[in-house]
């Protein structure tokens, strides 16, 4: 579904994504891991067209993506939840959700079933939400596009543990019950590995390790080497 071949991309002349290749099939979920600054978010930005691609090809469902304008990528089935959440503050929760909804299995009803808090808050404005609620809304808004692939950039960052758990359950439901394809960038390595099927480790803008999540969880030396964290054995 998504194929990157030897992609070099970055901001202006600076290269952040350096010879990156990966493929992803429909229904798959990938955890994108790596230390700070290795280009995890930039990889998502590259897929969404917010960086300058110098070389390489990005194919999406058989179509060359590099020249596709940013707004058309969303319409082509790429949903993106950026790290900053970026809720429309002066729109209500419901307006945020309906602003560019596309028909499909995700609609207001199924989003509210996934995030009941959003239904309670549906008349509230974007700036009247807690951080966790904003994150739920950001994910819900991206899902309303009924994307074939959802890109989640550190959704758990800065959330209270209870809320983070609630989000994890929702992400798990998206993957297990709805078969939602997604790429999850996350610093909470353990949680990310428990949620997704496969993990990709980035280092200096390139893929250095690619494994099934259970295998990686059993191979702590790789994690320590590339991600730099000690993971308690599950």
């Amino acid at each position: 579904m998504l194929t990157l071949e030897h992609v070099y991309a970055g901001y202006g002349e600076a290269i952040v994504i350096d010879d990156c290749s990966l493929t992803m099939d429909e229904g798959e979920s990938i955890a994108l891991l790596g230390r700070n600054g290795v280009g995890k978010s930039s990889l998502l930005l590259t897929v969404m067209g917010h960086t300058k691609v110098h070389r390489g090809s990005i194919r999406w469902c058989g179509q060359d993506l590099v020249k596709v304008p940013q707004h058309a990528r969303a319409r082509a089935g790429l949903g993106w939840v950026p790290q900053e959440r970026e809720i429309f503050k002066s729109l209500t929760v419901e307006e945020n959700l309906t602003v560019t909804a596309l028909p499909g299995k995700w609609d207001l009803k199924s989003i509210y079933a996934l995030f009941p808090r959003l239904q309670e808050r549906r008349r509230n404005f974007g700036n009247q939400l807690s951080g966790g609620e904003q994150q739920m809304l950001a994910i819900g808004r991206a899902l309303m596009l009924n994307p074939k692939l959802l890109l989640l950039d550190e959704p758990l960052e800065g959330l209270a543990p209870v809320i983070a758990d609630e989000l994890c359950v929702a992400i798990q439901r998206m993957i297990r019950n709805e078969g939602q394809s997604l790429i999850l960038v996350e610093q909470h390595v353990e949680q990310a590995l428990c949620l997704t099927h496969r993990a990709i480790v980035l280092e200096r803008g390139r893929v250095v390790h690619n494994a099934q999540c259970p295998d990686l969880l059993g191979n702590l030396s790789v994690l320590e080497k590339w991600v730099g964290v000690r993971v308690a054995h599950p």
Binding site: H71, A74, F88, V99
Partner: protein, 337 residues
Amino acid sequence: MSDTLARDSRHLTFLRARERWKPAEIAFWFALVGVYFVFPTNLIFVSQILITGLFALSLDMILGYAGIVTLGHAAFFGIGAYAAGLMAAHGWHEPLSGLLVAGLAAGIAGYLSSFLLSRGGGDLTRLMITLGIGLLLFEVANSATKYTGGVDGLQGVEVGKLFGVFGFDLYGKTAYAYVLGIAFLLFAFTRSMMHSPYGLALRSMRENQTRALAIGIPISACLTNIYTIAAVIAGIAGALLTQTTQFVGIDVLSFQRSADLLIILIIGGTATLYGGFVGAAVFMLAQDRLSNLNPQYWLFWLGIILIVMTLYLRGGMLGGLSRLADLYRHWRNKERP
């Protein structure tokens, strides 16, 4: 965008609920009909308020909803005013077709200039570009005295009977009904547009352009559309002024008109649809009363009003009113056991 949404009935129910006219809105328009009977001697003045309100509504579409700042919106008002004036002065006296041509002329100008605005750049760039276009057109009208009459204004504007039946009379009765009818039609059109998914898309664009792009809103196309539509409405407002006063002064293109319009919209409240009309009424009544009090210094009072309002009444008159209504509701709920 709207056709994809229309397929999902759930979204439609939600949007229809928003679209229903509220009692206060219905009262607003009936009150304007009532003015015709209650204040028959002030119809000319109220017509002017309505025209300015309509003009401010067109600014609200681009500034309030889409977040495009401009200091040259009078350009489109002026183009409409001159288009209608030139037609009427050169033998085409039918008013409705005059409005159409004026709207079309302003729309073409809006469409062309929208490309200058969508070429990146921030608010400052847009302020300068719109200011530049406004000044440019003013000087064109100023120097083309042969066609526009320059600073003396365009003379000899003769407007025929409305529907071939109702002549424009000295008391402005026909003019008032005509202006009110056109203003209402354009308002209803704008209202339904702003309550559609397209309106939501504009508001998202105002909030955060990158994010709007990321969820599939074609920003440049939206900008071009809304700027063109706003220019058409501004042009029609200009034409209404020409037809009801049977004269075109060069001030229709002046910077002062663009600046006043901004003040009017901010006094009334942005992104509310009614802010323009409320602002126009407050501004023009204040101008009328304060200049009666002291003809030379009315701008002094306006300056004070403007500073106080922007500092303490965010969201303008309508924003203040809705906060008062909230407080009242809150208080009433508390009173209840």
